[in-house]
Structure formats: structure tokens, C-alpha cells
């Protein structure tokens, strides 16, 4: 039996009260409940406060570049299909610097669970607007208030064809853990946009602000794309939580017959066996 505590390592560098703590605990509990051995999980991240997660969870980790959490994860899935691959990063990292990868990996549909810590702000660089910041939010850079409308990750994901997408709130740890378990087990790309208060820099979207607004819609059918789209677009006085869409389709990996069987990483190889490659040039 695995224990959630076994997955927690090192002191974190997060501010006391930060929403990241609950996300970390939910992840550890999800991994433990799914009984995933440490060495068979790979956590890829970019750069930011959220992206420090691989340092605090005992699994394999690739803490890469800002905005580039997803691409190494795709490469890893190709190299070793026996690894459970999870990607975790901030909203700036994922939807801003890494926006192109976000869009195209939904199209690819690799078997990856993607957990975005959406604090609607740039934490690590001390409080500039992120792609999901509310219009009008004032920061040291957006001095007159953010002039742009926020990016909607969930409706974008749905339009791009994501098979699994959900919204969670770090203030509801159990719900987050259960949703994470489903995302990890989902065969294909599974996105959870996690509302995560940043107590140091986001004075607008606080615990209280979220708590007042979040609710769990009743009788939602996660196979209904239209209904999912409606929930994805709901924001403001009422913010729905839950798995909005859950319809698996063919994964990226399944298109490559080569990827069946033993992982590419460990398949034996002898160059001399390939000598006939040159015959076509004779």
C-alpha cells in the first residue's frame, strides 16, 4: 500500500497560505491511491512557482524551461510508454509562453495529465498580469489595469478537441484529488485548470473570492459537448467546478505501430542488423 506522505519530499519555497500546497497534497494522495510506484511516474514542468512541483514530489522529474513543460513530456511518452506522464505548470507558463504547445498538444492527444495552477497572475516574477488575469486588474506593470480580456483555457481546449477537461479549486482538495485520479487514468490528454489563490500577489482572486463563486453543477453530462462548452464559458458570479467533458478518442501514441510492445528506450539494438538500409541506393 502506498502512502501519500511517501510522495512528499523537501521543503517547499512557497509562501505560507499559497494555493500550491493543497495541489501538492492532492497530487501526492492521488498518486498514492492509484498506487503508482515513484519510478514509474514522470512529472514535467516549466518555470514558475507552480513549476517547482517536481522538487517536492518523489517521482521522476524534468523541470525544463519556462513555457516548455509539454514538449519534453511528448518526447518522454514516445521514448517510454510505460511511464505515467504528468505535466504541471502555471497559467503564464502554460497559456502564455507555452501557448503554441498547449494548442497543438490538445490536437496531438498524448496520454498525458496536465494540471495547470491557475493563479491568474505571474507569481515567480512578482505579480504581473498573466493570460488569465481579469480585465482591469492593476499590477506594477499593468498600471492602469489589465486591458486584455482573459484567455479561456477550457473553452479553447474544448474547441481544439480535448477529450478530458475539468476545473478544480485548490480550496477543495478532495474534489481535486478525485479529479486528478480520473485525469491520470484518462487515456489521452486530460486538462485540469486549477483555481489557485496566490496570496502574495493576487489580491483580487482570493480564497474568499473563489469560495463565494464556485459551485458544482448538478446533472451535468460530461459526454455533452454543448453543455461542457456552456460550463467552460461560465465565469463571474458563478464559477462551475467539475469534469466538464470526458470522451476518450484515439491517442497520439496509438498512431505509431512502433510504439506497441517494449518501450523504445530499452529495445535492444545492433547497427550491423541495419546494413540492408543502403540497398535502395545501389
Amino acid at each position: 500500500m502506498c502512502n501519500a506522505k511517501d510522495y512528499l519530499i523537501n521543503e517547499t519555497a512557497w509562501c505560507p497560505g499559497c494555493g500550491n500546497f493543497a495541489i501538492r497534497e492532492a497530487l501526492a494522495a492521488a498518486l498514492a491511491e492509484l498506487e503508482l510506484p515513484h519510478h514509474q511516474v514522470l512529472l514535467c514542468s516549466g518555470i514558475g512557482q507552480a513549476a517547482k512541483m517536481p522538487h517536492y514530489i518523489k517521482v521522476n522529474g524534468f523541470n525544463g524551461l519556462h513555457g516548455r513543460a509539454l514538449p519534453p513530456a511528448i518526447g518522454a511518452r514516445v521514448a517510454n510508454t510505460s511511464l505515467k506522464v504528468i505535466v504541471e505548470s502555471g497559467d503564464g507558463d502554460t497559456y502564455g509562453e507555452g501557448g503554441n504547445h498547449f494548442i497543438h498538444n490538445i490536437r496531438r492527444n498524448p496520454d498525458i495529465a496536465h494540471f495547470v495552477h491557475n493563479n491568474q497572475i505571474y507569481g515567480l516574477t512578482k505579480g504581473q498580469a498573466s493570460p488569465t488575469s481579469e480585465t482591469g486588474m492593476k499590477t506594477k506593470v499593468q498600471t492602469a489595469g489589465n486591458i486584455l480580456p482573459p484567455f479561456n483555457p477550457l473553452s479553447t481546449a474544448l474547441v481544439m478537441g480535448a477529450g478530458f477537461m475539468a476545473r478544480c479549486f485548490s480550496g477543495e482538495k478532495d474534489h481535486l484529488k478525485e479529479t486528478m485520479k480520473q485525469a491520470i487514468q484518462f487515456p489521452g490528454y486530460a486538462l485540469i485548470d486549477i483555481l489557485q489563490p496566490c496570496v502574495s500577489f493576487n489580491k483580487l482572486n482570493t480564497y474568499g473570492w473563489y469560495k463565494e463563486r464556485v459551485y458544482h453543477p448538478e446533472n451535468h453530462d460530461p459526454q455533452n459537448w454543448q453543455a461542457a462548452m456552456e460550463l467552460a464559458r461560465q465565469w463571474g458570479d458563478e464559477i462551475p467546478l467539475g469534469i466538464f467533458y470526458n470522451v476518450p478518442h484515439e491517442t497520439f501514441e496509438s498512431h505509431f505501430p512502433t510504439l506497441r510492445g517494449e518501450p523504445l528506450a530499452t529495445r535492444p539494438f545492433n547497427p550491423a542488423d541495419l546494413s540492408s538500409l543502403q540497398d535502395e541506393f545501389l
Binding site: 512502433t258 530499452t266 547497427p271 550491423a272
Partner: protein, 562 residues
């Protein structure tokens, strides 16, 4: 003997060159074919030059003995370069040359093709006509057509081939004399990009992620064609940033990985290059150069990105740079690049260019048993628990394990400065130890670099210095210059960084004149030599018009001052 096949993009010059080239190689000639094409899909003016010799030629140098002009433009541009008694094959229904003369061989390429079954076989008719002028039978080509198209489809093509042969033969059979043949066993007829693709596959490369960019795309196309039959996955990334990061993820988890690109794409990759250096993840980057800056000349050649390969990427980290001199060497050298990348857990840049990638030559088959495949991974017996990805060792190389390799052990790679576990640190002491650890690899890599290749005596009048794809032009230039009585030696670098200096230091004083020949405007290699050795060449011969060096131009330039 030179044949030039010219026309508009889409007219199939390449098919003709490929068919003719292979047939001539099978007949026993040495053949080189070089492509000159524009960055467009239809129209424009493109041509392929075939040069035929007893030995395999190094460059497509010399006057044209046979011009296959598929349109009027090809005739107008190239007829002036025709050798005395050279011939022109043209389709009288396409155009009529202004001055009629005996050198012109009119063959109704399209009509004969139509008669044989389909006008798209005009190419095949042209091949038949060419063979007739060279005094060759169609046997080898018929075999080739059957191999390519299968018995059924080949039938019509063979009819077309024979029709062209007959028609041209009537007008001037054997009016061009081929050089002597040479018995040399089976030969490959192979272009540079396919060579690199094949070398990667035969080195155990299992993943290529790339974004198409001429002139590197051929490498990607080659490997993509092998996905169904071999253990390789090719993914066209959304951009070059994704390409290099995907390759790093694959390499980190244990698949040998490569990405390929040209200068503009490499510009997007450099942050990832730096990440490879920091995370100590093995990676081979095939950088096929074309003229810049910016989009430059997409389908042309240049050696303009040496400095960029040397310095691209922020921060300080070890890297190796190897280059493609010619296919026979590049095949094994790319294999070396993969081995170095894994042995030293560091990025290796393999520099080639359009001239290398698009030029095909006849060469002896490769010996695949000479390729090495060593994973340099930590074994169960040598594993120290708990596993630390960045353990400090005496030589700076930390034992490499793959995620999932050992039950209970995890592997953490980090882009931030880190401790031995891979965890983020900021203290000065650990930082210093980690930089020292990584930078130790530069000396180890230096010891793995090959000495430059010397052709000629170790003293004399002129030392010609080159690197990368100018190898052939310099070989030929040396031969030509030697005939004028001068003592000329050719020194050529394939492994470029860390630079091996011993050879050049000892050779430098033994020559009256030292000339560095480069396909760029600023003499980047000469500058590198100066920086690393303090030695200054006497002259630089630089070419940067997007075209490769011809031996005769090098000879002309060398003789200017002498």
C-alpha cells in the same frame, strides 16, 4: 564529362538525374549530381548537374558537354557554357533554338512519351535520348525502372525510354565520349541528407522531432519513410522550440534523439540547446546551413553558422561540433556524434549545408559493423543508492540512469542550477562545484576530436585549409594546383569543437603560404583558428553568393597573387 538538365520546377529534372546517375553508376562510372534549385514549387529555373568520371568527381565543375534543355530558359541560360562539340537535347515542340546547328538534337520528348502511354514520361524519354548520345544501351536503366515502378508500370516507361534512345540515336549515336570505366564493385549513389538520415537510424536514433526547413528537411523525410519498418518515430513539431524540447524529453527518458534544422530554426532552438547543457541531456542537432541572415537564400549553400553553433545558447556549457565533409566520412561521424552525446551527456551539433545535403555521389557501401552503439548508462551493479542524477565524480560525468530503470529510484533533471539530486539551489558553493563539474567535459571532448586530415606533404608552398563540405572542392583544387608544379597540401577539419590544434601548429611554419577557404563572408574558421592557436592565415578565399566552391575557382584565386 558534364551533363546539365535544366527546366522549371516541377518538370522532373531530379527524376532524370536520379535515373541517369544510378544507371551510370551501375555501368561502372563515377558520378556526382548536384542540385541548383530555387525556393519555389513551380516554374523558375532549376537544374541538376551530373558529372561523370573514371573516379567519382568531387564537384560539378567544368564546361557542359550535354545540355538537356527542358524549356527555352534552360537553353538560353546554359548554352553559352557548352563545351566545344557539346550537344543539346531539346523538345522542338517546346521551343526552337535561334541558331540551328549540328550540336542540337531535337527529340519530341512529350510526343514520344504520349505515344508510349502518358506525357508525364517525357523525363524517361530524355533519359533514353541521353543514353544514346553517350553510346550506352538501355539495359541498366530498364532494370532500374522495373525496380522502381514494378513490372507493370515499368512497361510503359521502358517503351518511352527506348523511343527516346532510338530517336536520338538516329541523329547522333555516341557523339559524346565517356571517360573510361573502372571495375570497383557495387557502388551506392547517395545524397548527403539521406546519408545523415541513414547514419542516424543505424546509430540507434529512435526519435526525431523537427520543423521543416530547407536544406535540413531531407533528413526528416528519410527517417519519416522508415517509421513503418524500423524502431523510429518522427514528429513534426509545432515549431523548433517544441522540436528541441521534445527531443530532450525523449533523450532524458532513454530514446536516442535528434533534431534537424537550419539557421533560422536553430535560432529558435538555442534556449533548448542551453537546457541540454544544463540538464546534461544527450542530444544531436543536425544543423544544415543555408545563407542568412534571416530567411536568406533558402535553397542555397553557405558555411555561415559556425560562430552561431559555437556560441549559440546562453550561459557556459560544454558542447561538441562536428561537420560533414563528404558522405563516406559523414556517415561514421554522425554515429560518433551520437556516441559523444551519450558518453558526455551533452549536446553535439552536426554541421552540414545545402551543398552537402543535396549532392549525390557514387561511393562504396558502408560497413555497418564499424558503427558503435554504447548507451553509457549506469548498471545495476554500479548503482549507488539513492540515485543522484548529478553526482559529482572525478571526471565530471555523473552516472546516467533513465526514469523507470531502477525500482524505487527516481531521476530528476533541472534547468535551474541544482545540487547532486537535481534540486534547485542558489548557494555559491554548489553553483561553483556544478559549473566545474560540467565544464570538465570540454577537455574530455577535446581528446575525442579527430586530427584534421592532411592530403599531401607536410611542408611545401601552399597549405590550403578548409572545414566541412568544401572538402571535395579543395581536394580537386589541390590536384589541379599540384599539376602546375607547386607543392600544395590540403588540411581539412571535420571535428571543429573543441578544436584540435597540434597538427596545425606544427604544419603552419612549414609552408610559404597558408590559405583558408570558406563559404562565408567573414572567415569564421580562420578566426576560430586564430583565437585558439594564435596563428593567422596569410590569405582567405571566401565565397558567399550562395553557391558552392568549384575547384577551378579556388585554383584561380590561389594563383592570383602567386
Amino acid at each position: 564529362m558534364n551533363i546539365l538538365i535544366g527546366g522549371a520546377a516541377g518538370q522532373g529534372m531530379e527524376t532524370i538525374a536520379q535515373l541517369l546517375g544510378k544507371a551510370l553508376v551501375r555501368t561502372g562510372y563515377g558520378v556526382l549530381s548536384a542540385k541548383d534549385y530555387m525556393s519555389r514549387v513551380r516554374g523558375g529555373h532549376n537544374f541538376t548537374r551530373l558529372r561523370i568520371g573514371r573516379k567519382t568527381p568531387w564537384t560539378a565543375d567544368g564546361p557542359i558537354n550535354l545540355l538537356v534543355a527542358l524549356n527555352e530558359e534552360a537553353y538560353q541560360i546554359h548554352s553559352a557554357d557548352l563545351a566545344d562539340n557539346g550537344r543539346i537535347i531539346f523538345d522542338p515542340e517546346e521551343f526552337t533554338p535561334e541558331n540551328k546547328n549540328d550540336n542540337q538534337v531535337a527529340v519530341q520528348l512529350e510526343k514520344l512519351a504520349k505515344d508510349a502511354g502518358n506525357k508525364i514520361m517525357a523525363n524517361t524519354v530524355a533519359v533514353g535520348a541521353t543514353l544514346a548520345l553517350l553510346g550506352l544501351q538501355t539495359t541498366e536503366t530498364e532494370e532500374l525502372l522495373t525496380e522502381t515502378f514494378g513490372k507493370e508500370l515499368a512497361g510503359k516507361n521502358i517503351l518511352a525510354l527506348k523511343a527516346g534512345h532510338q530517336e536520338a540515336g538516329k541523329q547522333c549515336e555516341t557523339c559524346l565520349t565517356l571517360p573510361d570505366k573502372q571495375e570497383r564493385g557495387k557502388q551506392l549513389f547517395l545524397d548527403g541528407n539521406s546519408t545523415l538520415g541513414m547514419a542516424a537510424l543505424a546509430s540507434g536514433c529512435r526519435f526525431l522531432s523537427a520543423y521543416p526547413m530547407t536544406p535540413s528537411t531531407g533528413i526528416m523525410t528519410y527517417l519519416a519513410g522508415k517509421q513503418d519498418s524500423h524502431d523510429v518515430v518522427v514528429e513534426q513539431a509545432e515549431d523548433e522550440i517544441a522540436a528541441i524540447n521534445m527531443a530532450l524529453g525523449a533523450s532524458f527518458t532513454g530514446a536516442r534523439a535528434m533534431t534537424c534544422t537550419s539557421g533560422g530554426g536553430f535560432a529558435l532552438m538555442v534556449e533548448g540547446l542551453s537546457l541540454a547543457g544544463m540538464t546534461e541531456t544527450p542530444l544531436v542537432i543536425a544543423l544544415a546551413m543555408r545563407p542568412g541572415p534571416a530567411t536568406g537564400l533558402p535553397t542555397r549553400t553557405e558555411q555561415g553558422d559556425l560562430e552561431f553553433a559555437l556560441h549559440g545558447g546562453h550561459g557556459e556549457f560544454p558542447r561538441a561540433i562536428l561537420s560533414a565533409t563528404h558522405a563516406e566520412d559523414a556517415f561514421y561521424r554522425l554515429n560518433k556524434a551520437f556516441d559523444l552525446a551519450e558518453k558526455y551527456q551533452t549536446p553535439v551539433i552536426f554541421l552540414s549545408d545545402q551543398d552537402f545535403g543535396d549532392t549525390a555521389r557514387s561511393i562504396p557501401p558502408f560497413d555497418f559493423s564499424k558503427l558503435c552503439y554504447r548507451r553509457h548508462l549506469v548498471s545495476e551493479d554500479n548503482l549507488k543508492k539513492p540515485y543522484q542524477r548529478y553526482r559529482i565524480t572525478e571526471n565530471g560525468i555523473s552516472p546516467r540512469a533513465l526514469p523507470g530503470q531502477f525500482a524505487g529510484e527516481t531521476v530528476l533533471a533541472d534547468s535551474d542550477e541544482h545540487d547532486e539530486n537535481g534540486n534547485i539551489i542558489e548557494d555559491a558553493e554548489t553553483r561553483t562545484r556544478m559549473v566545474r563539474k560540467r565544464m570538465k567535459k570540454t577537455a574530455l571532448l577535446a581528446a575525442e576530436m579527430d586530427e584534421p586530415k592532411i592530403t599531401g606533404e607536410k611542408s611545401g608552398d601552399i597549405l590550403l585549409i578548409g572545414w566541412g563540405s568544401t572538402y571535395g572542392a579543395l581536394q580537386e583544387a589541390r590536384q589541379l594546383l599540384s599539376k602546375t608544379g607547386q607543392q600544395v597540401t590540403h588540411l581539412h577539419f571535420a571535428d571543429l569543437w573543441p578544436l584540435r590544434c597540434a597538427q596545425i601548429k606544427s604544419l603552419f611554419p612549414r609552408f610559404k603560404q597558408r590559405i583558408c577557404v570558406e563559404n562565408n563572408a567573414t572567415g569564421q574558421f580562420a578566426a576560430l583558428l586564430r583565437r585558439e592557436t594564435g596563428l593567422k592565415v596569410d590569405r582567405e578565399i571566401l565565397k558567399f553568393n550562395g553557391r558552392p566552391f568549384m575547384a577551378s575557382e579556388i585554383v584561380r584565386e590561389v594563383q592570383k597573387d602567386v
